[in-house]
């Protein structure tokens, strides 16, 4: 398997393909680490994995036109939306797995940027439930 430089990642939010307006994507899963150390002769700590906390972080290029970023995300604020990400285009395969999650659209920055900069919106949405990986 070759290394991959991200150039064509697929990002769908609420059923809408917004890939060409996203410049950064990060899907993260972090398990709580629960200590289980008890008296023993090993004098080492023991641990197990606890609850998993999933989240997705995206950097959008802002666009207020009809059907673009602002119009797509704004109605989803405060709701749970399906987010699908794939490393390379929309066709799912073993080498281009699809990750689907239900993200809580908990934050949005309708206007962000300094003079001369590209208007952008950076969000980090917590996921409710699991992330589902598919390869077909």
């Amino acid at each position: 398997m070759a290394r991959i430089v991200l150039t064509n990642a697929f990002i769908s939010v609420g059923g809408v393909d917004l890939s060409d307006l996203v410049s950064s994507v990060s899907l993260s899963s972090t398990f709580d680490v629960v200590e289980t150390t008890a008296f023993s002769s090993s004098s080492t700590k023991t641990r197990v994995a606890g609850l998993v906390d999933n989240s997705i972080t995206l950097e959008f290029h802002q666009d207020y036109a009809t059907g673009e970023v602002e119009q797509t995300i704004y109605p989803l604020l405060g709701t749970v939306a399906t987010v699908i990400v794939k490393p390379n285009g929309s066709t799912t395969s073993a080498f281009n797995p699809s990750y689907t999650c239900s993200a809580v659209i908990s934050e949005w920055t309708p206007l962000n940027g300094a003079v001369g900069e590209l208007a952008s919106a950076s969000v980090s949405w917590p996921v409710t439930g699991a992330i589902t990986k598919a390869v077909v």
Binding site: G14, G15, V16, D17, L18, T66, G67, E68, Q71, T72, Y74, P75, L76, T79, A81, T82, S90, S102
Partner: protein, 83 residues
């Protein structure tokens, strides 16, 4: 003492339109793909639900609109039939 007896007959109505009656359809009006459908293509309520997508949010965002182009067909009654 009189004995009152009540009978309840459940009324079962069967739709002549079948599943289509409950299946709302939408047309993609956005330049962006919606659940893999391109502009002008039709998408059903069931497809949106299966994808975990809110039709209301998509309508609010001008991605889809309700379609009334495929109403269930009703055959006109035949006139002048005599026995």
């Amino acid at each position: 003492m009189t004995h009152k007896e009540s009978h309840f007959f459940p009324i079962v109505t069967e739709s002549r339109f079948g599943d289509k009656e409950n299946q709302m359809a939408y047309i993609v009006i956005s330049d962006r793909e919606v659940c893999g459908k391109k502009k002008g293509e039709s998408i059903t309520d069931k497809e949106l639900v299966d994808a975990g997508v809110s039709a209301q949010a998509l309508i609010a965002a001008n991605h889809i609109k309700a379609s009334n182009s495929v109403p269930p067909s009703i055959k006109p009654a035949t006139e002048g039939v005599t026995n």
